[in-house]
């Protein structure tokens, strides 16, 4: 089985002075990174809902994404300034794009100097891979792609990796409820509103139970009731990889500026190097 994870997208996880929940979510994301390394993963297939697009499915084909991301909303905080240096598995990226095309969808191979890497990708990669040793294959989140298309994109990535003999991990970078607190708050004030919190926990209970069809069935209602991040299509992407048809381990759950965020792991969790 392919190891997989859901990790948060918000940069607060990298705050120097974090809320307790931000610190717990960050530690859990680091744990996922440790487990991916322990599983001997060569390349991580990554979907970030913050890399949202409208034409086809963009696959990052630049071999090195080095730069500094200054977030257009969080720039006044330490976590609004994020250096990144990501190595892309371009052989897999091209094979993935070919597999997307072959599946009757539309891949767009993206390689442009100065391409703005989204905050979610940078945050997740820094926590999962603090020493920039890993390799990534990244795809955008098409605003209009239905869950079946998201699943098919992930499945195409798995096929491409199989053909190349890559040992794969799959990670979706997405929040849960997205009811952002619309004012500047102190970290200690951070909380998820009760109705959204109820929904997040209901979804996570189904994830824990390994009931993927229940999660998929409640996805649309979750999207409306709790403004789920990108309609929680991240789960459909993970499902398409075949990795979430088993109980997920919820390593952390909590608020990030009013939104709900969780770290979930699907896979073996022995021989970790947790600290």
């Amino acid at each position: 089985m392919i190891p997989a994870a859901l990790v948060p997208a918000m940069p607060h996880l990298l705050a120097g002075d974090p809320a307790d929940s931000w610190a717990e979510l960050a530690a859990a994301t680091r744990t996922v990174g440790d487990r991916l390394r322990a599983a001997g993963v060569d390349t991580v297939l990554l979907l970030s809902t913050q890399w949202f697009t409208v034409l086809g499915h963009q696959v990052q084909c630049d071999d090195r994404l080095r730069g500094r991301r200054t977030d257009e909303n969080w720039y006044a905080y330490d976590y609004g300034h994020l250096d990144h240096d990501l190595a892309v598995d371009t052989e897999l990226a091209h094979a993935w794009a070919d597999a997307i095309d072959a599946a009757g969808m539309q891949a767009r191979r993206t390689r442009y100097d100065g391409f703005p890497v989204d905050t979610g990708t940078v945050v997740a990669s820094k926590l999962l891979d603090p020493h920039d040793e890993g390799r990534w294959a990244m795809v955008s989140c098409n605003l209009y792609a239905d869950p079946a298309a998201m699943a098919a994109v992930a499945a195409a990535g798995v096929r491409a990796a199989d053909q190349l003999g890559r040992r794969l991990g799959v990670v979706a970078v997405s929040g849960l409820s997205s009811g952002l607190t619309a004012r500047w708050i102190r970290p200690s004030e951070d909380r998820v509103e009760p109705e959204h919190d109820r929904w997040n926990r209901k979804v996570l209970d189904a994830v824990r139970a390994g009931d993927r069809s229940a999660v998929l069935a409640m996805r649309e209602e979750f999207a409306v009731a709790a403004q789920a991040d990108s309609q929680f299509r991240a789960f459909a992407f993970l499902d398409g990889s075949g990795a979430v048809d088993r109980p997920g381990e919820v390593l952390a759950y909590g608020p990030v500026w009013g939104t709900g965020a969780a770290v979930v792991w699907w896979g073996e969790h022995t021989n970790t190097r947790e600290t």
């Binding site: 997208a9 809902t49 913050q50 890399w51 949202f52 697009t53 409208v54 034409l55 086809g56 084909c61 500094r68 200054t70 977030d71 257009e72 909303n73 720039y75 006044a76 609004g80 300034h81 091209h94 095309d101 539309q106 891949a107 767009r108 191979r109 993206t110 390689r111 442009y112 100097d113 100065g114 391409f115 703005p116 989204d118 955008s140 098409n142 605003l143 209009y144 929040g175 997205s178 952002l180 607190t181 619309a182 004012r183 500047w184 403004q227 789920a228 991040d229 990108s230 500026w257 939104t259």
Partner: protein
């Protein structure tokens, strides 16, 4: 439906073009009083849509990709806008655009000289623009202050590293490709995670705050509301992005919705838009849901005038109109 664009990985041709590109014209320093000698205040407002395709089609030296043209009628509308804008002799252009998305509050760009390359994440094959312009920092700060005084969450953005988005650049370039006027750029308060609509009531408050700041600083300002109209569009692109053989409205209903709004605009008065804009959003998923048009109308005080529609056309099926309002 048009077929999707299959991008060739890499951009060897663009690299050579980049080396040969012309530097943008130097921008004027912001004035501290009305430079025109005329009366201050808002002298004109425009609906100034920003599809990157229009900048791409113009082939300006600042943009790396090259085109063979396309979307001419909209671009001719912008040519007329430029002539009229010159005649208004503004001190400053104030733009509200929907793709500088700020999740907490309304931000105003207070960087004196924003410079950089804006690679558009959705249309990187069309828009890789080298920008270099001047901000009217005094007016920008005054808008932050007036917005806060009106009870809005506002922020003065002073970070060089924040990439200027394609909607802001697109509207400003198309309105004033010489970039010889100072600028104030406002963000769109929205939630990118859920793609929610802006609060139109808040946009009215922001518009009123913008007007107060302009009056307080004595500026002679032209305002640009950078929204498209009907907003359903193709999720695919022809091999030649400017292939006008496939350019048309998404549906007749989308087109009819735009025409209904434009009829209301052409008949006036602008107060009718208080009801017409939300109805148009409901009918066409209009990009005016980001609030730029409402901000513009509120800033001008919902004047009892008609708008002058300079052009209408579709871009990957979205409706776009260039419109002028001149308060009397």
């Amino acid at each position: 439906m048009a077929r999707v664009f299959h991008a060739t990985a890499g951009s060897g041709r663009s690299a050579s073009r980049r080396a040969a590109r012309t530097e943008p014209a130097p921008a004027a320093a912001p004035s501290t009083t009305s430079g025109s000698g005329g009366r201050g205040g808002i002298v004109a407002g425009y609906l100034a849509p920003h599809p990157p395709h229009l900048v791409y089609a113009e082939n300006p030296p600042q943009n790396e990709p090259r085109s063979t043209g396309g979307w001419e009628v909209l671009r001719w509308g912008y040519e007329e806008l430029r002539r009229r804008l010159r005649a208004h002799a503004p001190d400053v252009l104030v733009v509200h655009a929907p793709h500088w998305i700020t999740m907490v509050g309304h931000h105003v760009n207070c960087v004196p000289n924003p410079r950089g390359v804006s690679v558009e994440p959705i249309f990187p094959h069309l828009f890789r623009y080298h920008y270099d312009f001047r901000t009217d920092v005094d007016l920008a700060e005054a808008i932050v202050e007036e917005g806060a005084r009106a009870g809005l969450v506002t922020s003065a953005m002073r970070e060089d590293g924040v990439r200027v988005d394609y909607a802001t650049i697109g509207a400003l370039h198309l309105a004033n490709p010489d970039w010889d006027l100072p600028v104030v750029s406002l963000s769109a308060n929205n939630n990118p995670y859920f793609y929610s609509d802006a609060s139109l009531a808040e946009m009215e408050t922001l518009g009123e705050a913008t007007r107060k700041a302009i009056e307080k600083t004595g500026r002679r300002a032209v305002l640009l509301a950078s929204n498209s109209l009907s907003h359903l569009h193709w999720d695919a692109e022809p091999d030649l992005p400017e292939d006008m053989g496939v350019e048309r409205p998404f549906t007749h209903a989308q087109y009819a919705g735009d025409m209904e709004l434009l009829r209301t605009i052409r008949e006036g008065p602008t107060s009718r838009l208080k009801e017409a804009v939300p109805a148009h959003i409901e009918a066409t998923s209009s990009e005016t849901k980001a609030g730029s048009l409402t901000w513009l109308m509120a800033a001008m005080g919902w004047p009892a005038i008609a708008g002058d529609v300079l052009a209408y056309g579709t871009v990957i099926a979205t409706g776009n109109a260039v419109v002028e309002w001149v308060p009397t």
